[in-house]
């Protein structure tokens, strides 16, 4: 038996939000692939649960009238990866989610959980950052929209407040149209592993010139991060060994990797420089640019 002390099965989004606000200790349970692991380990922080699995509306994946792609917070990794809209318009999301765990975990785990649990290594975080996800959140005060930029505030921490429930992610057309994007996960095993470093790039080319670059990393700082210095260094440049090196140097201002049992700070820095070049080259090639 899981050590669950209090359990509420939410009947509606409103009901979930009220229950979350009423009990400051309560946590949301969605796919359960993190929460139940923590409960299995006896973590008392997860003793009070609000179960949102009855909220079918949060599973929806669709395109709205403005051309934004909306992904429900309760859609599983597998459902997202296999969805036609995702494969056609934002394939880097499918590529990223395919690197998570194994099939059984992907059949249950959700992108809502992957982002909201604040994991520094979240495999969906690079895609979220380079496509600049909007997060549509319900709270007792009503609905509001937050950007993924600034959403993560520390390891396991986000801006979410008591009573907040993420309903869906929204990707506006100007954040995906015309971009090609790539994710590369460096891990010790080919599957069922946490990223040592995760790296994502989205580029928009004008001929051979990089018009826009969006570069993001996981495990390179206390939160998943966008790399503004590296992006600026690459803007309006062609892809050459020299311009990539300038970008890699600028990148050191953006990142703050640390030593852990998985890898040393020095090795992580090496990976960050190497992977940045790799994902940028790949994204440019995918758009038909030369490099």
């Amino acid at each position: 038996m899981f050590p669950i002390e209090k359990y509420h099965y939410a009947e509606s989004v409103k009901d979930a939000v009220q229950a979350l606000a009423a009990d400051g200790q309560s946590k949301i349970i969605a796919g359960g692939t993190d929460v139940l692991v923590r409960l299995h380990g006896g973590n008392a922080d997860y003793g009070s649960l609000i179960d949102i699995n009855g909220l079918g509306e949060l599973k929806e994946i669709r395109m709205d009238r403005e051309g934004s792609i909306c992904i429900g917070s309760l859609a599983t990794f597998t459902e997202i990866m296999e969805h036609e809209l995702i494969r056609k318009h934002v394939p880097v999301i499918a590529e990223s989610l395919a690197t998570i765990g194994g099939p059984q975990v992907r059949n249950c785990g959700t992108m809502g959980g992957n982002i909201c649990n604040g994991a520094v290594s979240a495999d969906s975080a690079c895609a979220a950052l380079i496509h600049e996800f909007d997060l549509v959140i319900e709270s007792p005060a009503g609905e509001r929209v937050e950007s993924i930029n600034g959403f993560h505030t520390g390891p396991g921490r986000t801006i979410l407040q008591k009573g907040d429930l993420l309903k869906y992610f929204c990707i506006r057309p100007d954040n995906y149209k015309g971009f090609s994007a790539v994710y590369h996960k460096y891990a010790m095993r080919g599957a069922m592993d946490i990223a040592t470093i995760g790296s994502g790039a989205a580029v928009k080319m004008n001929g051979d010139i990089v018009e826009t670059l969006k570069l993001a990393f996981t495990v390179a700082a206390p939160t998943p991060i966008r790399c503004r210095n590296a992006e600026k260094a690459m803007e309006n440049k062609t892809i050459t060994e020299e311009s990539l090196q300038t970008m890699a140097n600028a990148l050191e201002e953006d990142v703050m990797p640390r030593t852990s049992w998985r890898a040393s700070k020095e090795f992580r820095l090496h990976l960050i420089r190497t992977l940045a070049k790799k994902v940028i080259r790949q994204a440019v090639e995918n758009q038909g640019g030369s490099c």
Binding site: F2, I4, Y7, T33, H40, P103
Partner: protein, 156 residues
């Protein structure tokens, strides 16, 4: 503690019962006698507890029993019909893909859903490996298991 009334089908047999909300689907299935569902790691790494919920492979150790309400569960016991093994089970025997056997029921269910999902598709060994990444086997070294999936894919 709270409990919930649920209805579910396990290997075509219908059940109605009241379950404790703290119970995993793995514990529920084992209590009902479906002991092919193994308690391995308990944290979704080994896949020994894999069952199909509405034909989707999940780790039943990381799945609340109440979530199985209004679903159809398949375990390895049910794959055997009229005393005859399923093509997947048969292939595991034929290829010698079973040693100690603890991981086998979970692997059988993963292979079953993997092949149903990829029906008619030519599968590479790499694709088979990726499709079975959520199941650990400490005996075989996996080669015979991959052989079994290939054989079942041809015979299915």
């Amino acid at each position: 503690m709270q409990s919930m009334d649920i209805k579910l089908t396990i290997n075509t047999k219908k059940y109605e019962m009241t379950v404790d909300v703290r119970k995993s689907l793995m514990d529920l299935l084992r209590e009902l006698g479906y002991t092919s569902v193994k308690h391995g790691c308990g944290v979704g790494e080994c896949g020994a507890c894999t069952v199909l919920v509405d034909d989707i492979a999940i780790d039943s150790c990381l799945y609340l029993a109440t979530w199985a309400n209004n679903t159809e569960i398949r375990t390895t016991e049910g794959e055997c019909r009229d005393g005859k093994l399923s093509p997947v089970q048969d292939a595991y025997v034929e290829e010698g893909a079973v040693q100690c056997g603890f991981c086998t029921p979970g692997l059988i269910m993963t292979t079953t859903s993997f092949l149903e999902k990829n029906k008619g598709k030519e599968l590479t060994r790499e694709e088979i490996k990726r499709g079975h990444a959520g199941n650990l086997c400490r005996c075989t070294g996996y080669q015979t298991i991959i052989n079994a999936v290939e054989t079942a894919s041809k015979n299915g």
